[in-house]
Structures are given as C-alpha cells and as structure tokens.
C-alpha cells in the first residue's frame, strides 16, 4: 500500500501538460507507419500477392507524410515531440528540422521507386522470404534516424536499419551473397559498436543523451575529452558512410543482392551515416569539427579520387556503381570539412542528389543488364539499338551522376568547389574536380561499351533475359530521371532549402528552442 504523499505532486514539473496537436503527431508517424505496415506484412507473409500493393501504397503515403512534415518545419521551424509526455531531456525526444525532414522525404521517394521496381525484380521466393517486410522495417530505421532528437535513439534506429539490411542482403542465399553479407555484417556491426562506445563516453561526459541538451551544454564544458569523443564519432560514422580507409565492406557486398536491394542500399544507407556525421560534428561539436577539418578533408579527397580510380578499373557494372556511391560520399565529406554555410549546404544538396541518383543508377544498370544479357562491360552491348528510349534515360542518369549539366549533380559540385575556394582549400576543390573528371570518363565508357557498341556474341550471365516494356521496372527510372532533371533545371528551391537546413545545423538555437520551450533544462 502506497501512502499518499503529504504534498500534492506538481505534475507540470515533470510532464508536458498540453496535449500534442495533430501536427506534432506528424513527427512520429513516418517510423510508426513503417513499423506497423512491416508487422502487418509479416502477419500476411504467406499471401505474397498482397505484399506489393500494401507496401507500395504505404510508401506512397510515407512520401505524402514526409512532404507535410517538410512543409510544416519549413514554415514553423523545428518541431519536437517527446515520448511518454516526459519533459525533455528525460523523455526521448523526436525533433525534426529542415535537414532531417528533407532527407526523410527524399529517401522515402527513393524507397517508393525501389518498392515499385521490386514488383518486377523480386520473384515469388524473394517475397516469401520477406522482401517487403524488410523494406518497411528498413524505412522505419531510416526515417527514425532522420527524425530523432536523442543520440541513443539514433543508435537504435541504426541497428533497426542494419538488421533489416542484413535480411535484404542475403535474400536468395546465393554463395556470392553469403560471402558479401559476412563482410558487410561484421564490418557494419563494428561500425555501430564504435558509435555505441562513443555514445557511452558522451553519456559519461554530459550525463544526457538529448541532442539539443548536448548542443546547449557543449560550450560551457571545461576540460572534457571532447576531441577523443569527436574522433570516435568521426571514425564510427565514416565507417557507416564508407569513407576511404574504412570502406572495404561496400565494394565487397553491394553488387551481390538483387538489383533493387542494391539500389536501396546505394541510395539510403551510406547517407544515413553522412547525416549522423553532420548532425553530430556540425551541430554538437563545431569546435572539434574545426580542429578535425584537415583530417576530414584529406579523407574526403582520398575517398573521391581513389573511388573514381576504382570506377575506372571495374568490368562489372554493379561494382562500378558501388564505387560511384563512394565517390559521392567523398564530395559530402568535403562539405563537412569546409564547414561554412555554403559548404554544408552544398553537402546537403549533394546528399539529396545522391540518394535519388544512386538509386536510379542501380535500377538503370539492372535494366541494362536485363536487355543486353550481361553485367559486364565486356559481355554487354547493343542497348542503344535494342532500346533507344531507355538508352536516352540512361545517358541522362550517367551524366547526372558524373555531375554534368543540365542535371542535379552539377549544382552541389559548383557549391562545394566555390565554398572550398572561398576558404582557400584549393586542394579540396582540385580533388572534387579530378574525381568528377575521372567519373565522367568511367561513366562515359559505360555508355560507349554497354550502349553504343554492337552486342557481343556471348552467353548471357545476367539473371534474367531481355524483357519487353515492363512498367514496374521502367516507371521508377522515368520518375527519378524527371526528378533529377527538374532539380537540375530549377535548382533554386532545393538550394534555398539546403541553405535553411545548413543554417539550422550551424546555429542550433531554434532546434534547442523547440525542445526546451521554456529556454533551459530544469
């Protein structure tokens, strides 16, 4: 029997008393929706005909929710919802700013494209093993990571998306996949464990896990080992993002699963690492980022240039695209190394471009292999004659990834080159340009050998033969190409949003204000 307390308890000292408005619910809806639909799909896992319609419809709804969310934060500023009504920093907060909402929206679009493409690419046995439930849970992890405002919760979302990615990666259980998945699994688990170690130290130093709370206290902290902590965070997120010395898991595994899975991974997973790196290093530890900027810059240049050389050395189209993903990571790291408003907004724009372009490029390569019957540059060919319309779309995508006008790859590169010249880092600008030049050669060669050259007389090695018009595979490519072209022709809106997002990272006062409405922790 509990004895009644002598004084009445003042609930408002510990709880959020106002009921959350409908707009606040938007903050938590994307991951909640994805988890729920994932669970429903697991329940109906034997009725595989239902999977694709349910999953595609809910991904479409996710895009709609993320659009509403982006509109809300763009108009009102960051929005916070704290779980269980506990006042922050005691409850787990979901805090959404323009940066998180932008990335969530664009990755939902990429996932929708992959979900539609999977309707023709993933066969019945793949669906029976749970392709669509894994896709939903992966998106729950990705959306949660972009929207959360608590660093331990960020770690949990990392693990959610990691374990779903394991499931997707070994779907089909071919020998090659098992080999790739073992390397991917062990190295990625190490990466997230480094992240957890860093979180443990962070908790020991700050006594809080709420990012807004940390951002508020970091300035007044004396004598804490923040450099060690930041270096650990940089290592952990560089590993997740596949930056140069710790990127060997990516070329080992990304070409082994079905092409739709590769498209999802190439578009989304590494960008979550970049997101976390920017969130932690730019918003939470700006002084330490300044100190580490030379290291991050060198890593960025090495990542860009070496992966562009890697692209030149590949015969397999999927592995070539894998190196293209890494080259993009180098460009985003360059923005983190620069750290000015222009540099960070360039990196954000590049991340948005890269999510769309890499998903599309994997899908393009998959369809190209289906038409020519070969995954390799050596064995393929003749696509220009067999499917001229698709060849045109592919050329657009190849140019977009290489960063040539009039597609969306051009603008972030211009922003990054200009920002690095502004701070006098000519070597960083040179790295971006050299890497862009080498990628252009490598991607141009893809068009030369796989499209223009007459078909090589050879037995097909790609998993499926040439197919006629099938909309589930062609539709997403058309949609994503239109998007990339639209971003390239009318970049002002995206540039403005990226600048707002970057400004929110560099000066987190509005982010903090949204979490602690009264202006300070109790």
């Amino acid at each position: 029997m509990a004895t009644p307390s002598s004084t009445p308890v003042d609930l408002s000292a510990a709880f959020v008393m106002a009921a959350p408005t409908a707009g606040d619910w938007l903050v938590i809806l994307p991951p909640a929706l994805m988890i729920t639909v994932g669970a429903v799909l697991v329940m109906v896992r034997h009725r595989i005909r239902l999977h694709a319609p349910i999953a595609i419809a809910s991904l479409g709804f996710l895009v709609f929710l993320d659009m509403l969310l982006l509109w809300k934060v763009a108009v009102e500023g960051p929005v916070t919802m704290t779980m269980g009504r506990w006042l922050p920093p005691f409850g787990i907060s979901f805090t959404v700013d323009v940066f998180g909402a932008l990335l969530a929206l664009v990755s939902a679009i990429a996932a929708l494209a992959a979900g539609i493409a999977a309707a023709s690419d993933v066969n019945d046995s793949g669906r029976r093993y749970g392709f669509y439930p894994f896709l939903m849970l992966l998106m729950a992890g990705v959306s949660g990571a972009f929207l959360t405002g608590d660093i331990f919760n960020l770690y949990v979302w990392f693990e959610v998306l990691l374990i779903s990615s394991f499931g997707l990666l070994i779907l089909g259980s071919e020998r090659q996949q098992i080999d790739g998945a073992l390397k991917y699994g062990i190295l990625n688990l190490l990466g997230t464990t480094f992240f957890l170690i860093a979180v443990a130290y962070l908790y020991a130093i700050f006594g809080t896990l709420n990012m807004a709370d940390i951002a508020m206290r970091v300035g007044s902290l004396q004598g804490a080992p923040l450099m060690t902590l930041s270096a650990l965070f940089v290592l952990a997120f560089a590993m997740k993002a596949a930056a140069f010395p710790v990127n060997f898991w990516l070329p080992a595994s990304y070409h082994t699963p079905r092409i739709t899975v590769s498209a999802l991974f190439g578009g989304l997973l590494t960008k979550v690492g970049i997101y976390a790196l920017m969130r932690v290093m730019i918003m939470l530890f700006p002084l330490q980022r300044e100190e580490l900027s030379l290291v991050i810059g060198i890593v960025a240049v090495l990542t860009m240039v070496l992966s562009a050389i890697g692209m030149l050395a590949q015969n397999d189209l999927r592995r070539l695209v894998g190196y293209a993903v890494i080259a993009g990571i180098g460009n985003m790291l360059a923005g983190v190394a620069i750290g000015s408003l222009a540099g960070v907004s360039g990196a954000i724009f590049y991340a948005l471009h890269s999510i769309i372009a890499m998903t599309a490029l994997y899908l393009v390569v998959g369809r190209a292999a289906a038409i020519s019957g070969s995954w390799t540059l050596e064995g393929g060919g003749g696509i220009y004659r067999l499917a001229p319309g698709f060849a045109f779309l592919s050329l657009a995508m190849l140019l977009a990834v290489a960063g040539l006008p009039p597609f969306s790859g051009l603008w972030p590169k211009i922003m990054l080159v200009k920002a690095s010249l502004d701070i006098g880092a000519w070597w960083l600008a040179a790295g971006i340009l050299v890497s862009g030049f080498l990628s252009t050669i490598a991607l141009g060669r893809v068009f030369l050998f796989a499209y223009w050259r007459p078909q090589a007389a050879q037995t097909p090695d790609a998993p499926y033969g040439p197919s006629a018009m099938d909309w589930p595979s062609l539709g997403p490519i058309i949609g994503l190409t239109l998007l990339v072209t639209a971003f390239g022709l009318f970049p002002e809106g995206v540039i403005r949003l990226s600048e707002t997002a970057a400004a929110g990272l560099l000066d987190p006062s509005r982010y903090i204000g949204s979490v602690f409405a009264t202006g300070g922790a109790p």
Binding site: A2, T3, S5, S6, T7, F152, V156, E159, L162, I163, F166, I170, S173, R175, Q176, Q177, I178, D179, G180, A181, L182, K183, G185, I186, L189, L190, T193, L196, I197, A200, Y201, Y203, A204, P251, A252, S253, H255, T256, L312, A313, Q314, N315, D316, T376, L377, E378, R445, F449, R453
Partner: protein
C-alpha cells in the same frame, strides 16, 4: 571502484580486438561477442558506480536519496544486450552457412564476391 572497472573494460577490449584481427571467422565472432560485453561494461561504468542505494523515492520523500544508483545506464545496456545478442545470433548462422557453402572459415579465401582474376574492363572497341 571505477578504476577497477576501467581495467576490466580495457582487458575486454584488448581481447576483443585481438580476436577480431584474426582471419578466421569463428574467432572474429567470439571477438564480437566480447566486444559487445566490453561496451556494456563501459556504459555501466560511465554511468557512475554506487552500491546499495536503489533509485527508489521512499514514502514521504520528494527526491532520491543522495548517492542513489543511476538507473539509466541499465536501460541503455538492456537495449544494447538485446541488439548485440540478436546480431550475434544472426552472424553465427551466417558464418555457419558461409562455412558450409564456401568450404572455409578463412576470410582470405572467401573471394567469391570479389574474385582474384576479375577481368579488366575492355581497353578498346
């Protein structure tokens, strides 16, 4: 108390890193299992160690007694244990499958996804 635990955590980490540096996948897995426990101990130590003062507000009191244990690290560790256990189970199955399918547990010999004799891209038309 913290000093003793720090040494213990360091010992766990060294054993884990030594095992993970091995080429054999089974040893790497053992290393990963130890690494997970090392991190859990680290969180536990990082969250302040005290003895015999449970974090319970007694009847008639408004706040915790001085020097009460910190319950948050235990919640964090619980999450981390669940996650690292499920990953360990998955990787164990995967390693066993890899041993069955590829016939080796030496990661140097697992070259199926990245074959050694991968041909160069064509150098001319």
């Amino acid at each position: 108390m913290e000093a003793v635990f720090s040494v213990l955590v360091a010992a766990f980490f060294s054993a884990a890193i030594y095992l993970i540096l091995s080429k054999h996948s089974v040893r790497m897995l053992l290393g990963i299992a130890i690494l997970g426990n090392a991190v859990n101990l680290l969180i536990f130590t990082g969250g302040r160690l005290t003895r015999e003062v449970p974090p319970i507000i007694g009847a008639g009191l408004d706040s915790l007694p001085a020097g009460a244990a910190n319950p948050l690290p235990q919640a964090l560790i619980l999450t981390a244990i669940v996650i690292s256990f499920s990953f360990f189970a998955f990787l164990l199955t995967l390693t066993y499958r890899a041993y069955q399918e590829l016939g080796t547990d030496n990661t140097d010999e697992m070259r199926l996804a990245e074959p050694k004799d991968d041909p160069m891209p064509p150098l001319g038309y």
